[in-house]
C-alpha cells in the first residue's frame, strides 16, 4: 500500500478524532463549571451528589464508562439503539468524564480567588450571578489554564479509546492498517499526527495565556 493511501485513511480517522475532541470540549468545559458549583454548594445533598459523581468518573476507567453508555441502554432497558448510537454514547461518556476533571480544576481556581473580590462586587451591588460571570470566572480561567492544558492534551490522546465502540477514529484506523499491512508504519504516522495535533493545542494554549498576561494579581 502506498504511503499516500495510508495517510488518507489515517486522516479520515483524524476527522473523527477531532470531532470527539471538540464535542467533548464544547460539552465538558461549561458542564465542568456546573460540577464545580454543585461540588461547592452549601446544599449538602447537592454537594454530595457532585462528590460521588466526581469520584465515580475519576475512579473508573474511561474505557469502561464508554462501554457502559454504549451497551447500557440494551442491557439495562432492553432498548436496541441504532448504529449511530455509538457516537452519542461516545459523546456522553467523554463529556461526563471530562466534566468531572474540569470541575475539580475549576474548583481549585474558584477557591483561589480572594474573598475581597466577592466583597467588592457585593458592595457595588452586583448580583451573585454577575459576580461569578464577570468578576470571578475570568480570573479563574487565567489561573487554571496550565492545569486545563494538561487535561486538554490528555483528551487528544484519550480519543483513541473510542476504538472500543467501533468508531473509526485515527487509532482504530492505525490498528486496522497495521494488521492488514503487517507494518509498524501506520502506528508511527498516527503517533506523529497525534503529536502535531497536540503541538497545535499547545500553541493555542500559549496564545491564550499570552493574551491573559496583560495583568497579574
Amino acid at each position: 500500500m502506498e504511503l499516500a493511501t495510508m495517510m488518507n485513511l489515517l486522516l479520515s480517522g483524524l476527522v473523527f478524532t477531532a470531532q470527539i475532541f471538540l464535542v467533548t470540549l464544547v460539552g465538558a468545559l461549561p458542564l465542568g463549571v456546573v460540577v464545580a458549583l454543585c461540588r461547592m454548594s452549601r446544599l449538602k445533598p447537592v454537594a454530595w451528589i457532585a462528590r460521588i459523581y466526581i469520584s465515580i468518573m475519576r475512579g473508573t476507567p474511561l474505557m469502561l464508562q464508554l462501554m457502559f453508555w454504549m451497551f447500557g441502554p440494551y442491557y439495562i432497558f432492553g432498548l436496541s439503539m441504532g448504529t449511530s448510537w455509538k457516537f452519542v454514547a461516545c459523546s456522553i461518556g467523554f463529556i461526563l468524564n471530562y466534566a468531572a476533571y474540569f470541575g475539580e480544576i475549576y474548583r481549585s481556581g474558584i477557591q483561589s480567588i480572594p474573598r475581597g473580590q466577592y466583597e467588592a462586587a457585593s458592595v457595588l451591588g452586583y448580583t451573585k450571578a454577575q459576580t461569578f460571570m464577570i468578576i470571578v470566572l475570568p480570573q479563574v480561567i487565567k489561573r487554571i489554564l496550565p492545569a486545563m492544558g494538561n487535561e486538554i492534551i490528555t483528551l487528544v490522546k484519550d480519543t483513541s479509546l473510542a476504538f472500543v465502540l467501533g468508531i473509526m477514529e485515527m487509532f482504530s484506523q492505525a490498528k486496522a492498517l497495521a494488521a492488514s499491512q503487517v507494518s509498524m508504519v501506520p502506528y508511527i504516522i498516527a503517533a506523529a499526527i497525534y503529536w502535531v495535533f497536540n503541538f497545535v493545542v499547545e500553541m493555542a494554549l500559549t496564545h491564550i495565556e499570552k493574551r491573559l498576561s496583560y495583568y497579574h494579581d
Binding site: P114, Q117, A120, L124, Q130, Y215
Partner: protein, 257 residues
C-alpha cells in the same frame, strides 16, 4: 438633626461563634458629617463597617439608610433583614473602600470604575465613562484609564478604589483603614483625596489609625474597644482631651503620628 440620619445603626450586636465582637453599638451619621472610628485591632471597628455594608449580618439591632430600613430588631434582640430588593437599594446608597483596595485585577482602571455603573445602575456606557474620567481627574489619575491595577502603585490603586466607590454616587462612603496597606509616602496622597472629599461635605465614616488625620478631618471621633464605643465626641476633644482612661491609654500608645 431634623432630618433622618443617613446611616442609623442601633444596638448592633454581632458575635463570631462565642466571641462577641459588637456589643450594643449605636452609630448615627448625619448628612455631610465625617466620622472617624479609632481603636486597637480586634476592637470591632472593621466588623462594624462590615455590618453596615451588609458584608456581615447583625445578630441583633437595627440598620437603616435614611428611610430605608435594612434590618429591624424583632424585639428579642434579633435582627430581621429586609428582602433582597431593599438590600440592593441600600447598596446603592453607600460605598466602601477596602484596606486592600480589592480592585478587579482583570479590568482596566476605567472598567473598574464604569462596570458597576453600567451593569448595576444601568447607565449608558458613555455616561459612565464621563463620570469615571471626571472622578479620575479629581483623584489625580488622568491618563491612567487604560492601565490595569497591577501597573499602579498602592496609593494609585487606592485612589482608583475611591473613584470606583464614588462612581455610583453613594450618599455615604465608608473607609476601612484605607492607608494601612500603604507605604508612608503613598499614604499622604490617599489622605489628601479623603480630605478633599470632606471639604466637599461628602458624608464619610473612616476607620483609621492615622490620628492626626482623624483629628484634622473628622467632625466626630469614635473610640471603640472591646466591642463597645468607649468614647465619642468632637474630633479635637477626643484626641486632645480624652475623658476615658482607655482612650488615653490607646492614644498614648499611638503617640502623635
Amino acid at each position: 438633626m431634623s432630618e433622618k440620619p443617613l446611616l442609623s445603626l442601633k444596638h448592633a450586636q454581632k458575635s463570631f461563634g462565642d466571641t462577641p465582637v459588637l456589643k450594643d453599638i449605636t452609630l448615627e451619621v448625619a448628612e455631610g458629617e465625617v466620622v472617624a472610628i479609632i481603636g486597637a485591632s480586634g476592637g470591632g471597628k472593621s466588623t462594624l463597617l462590615r455590618c453596615a455594608t451588609l458584608l456581615e449580618t447583625l445578630d441583633g439591632g437595627s440598620l437603616a439608610y435614611g428611610d430605608l430600613v435594612v434590618a429591624e430588631d424583632n424585639g428579642a434582640a434579633h435582627a430581621v433583614y429586609a428582602g433582597k430588593e431593599t438590600q440592593r437599594q441600600a447598596k446603592s446608597r453607600f460605598g466602601l473602600v477596602f484596606q486592600n483596595f480589592n480592585l478587579f485585577p482583570h479590568f482596566t482602571v476605567l472598567q473598574n470604575i464604569t462596570d458597576a455603573q453600567v451593569r448595576v445602575q444601568k447607565r449608558s456606557k458613555k455616561e459612565a465613562e464621563a463620570r469615571a474620567r471626571e472622578l479620575l481627574a479629581k483623584m489625580n489619575l488622568s491618563g491612567k484609564e487604560n492601565m490595569v491595577p497591577c501597573e499602579l502603585s498602592g496609593g494609585q490603586q487606592q485612589r482608583v478604589a475611591i473613584a470606583r466607590a464614588l462612581a455610583t454616587d453613594p450618599d455615604i462612603l465608608f473607609f476601612d483603614e484605607p492607608t494601612s496597606a500603604l507605604d508612608p509616602e503613598l499614604t499622604q496622597g490617599v489622605l489628601k483625596v479623603i480630605r478633599n472629599l470632606a471639604d466637599e461635605h461628602m458624608t464619610m465614616v473612616v476607620v483609621t489609625h492615622e490620628m492626626s488625620f482623624a483629628r484634622d478631618v473628622a467632625d466626630r471621633i469614635i473610640f471603640m474597644d472591646g466591642g463597645v464605643i468607649v468614647e465619642e465626641g468632637p474630633a479635637t476633644e477626643v484626641i486632645n482631651n480624652p475623658k476615658h482612661e482607655r482612650t488615653r491609654a490607646f492614644l498614648k500608645n499611638y503617640g502623635e503620628e
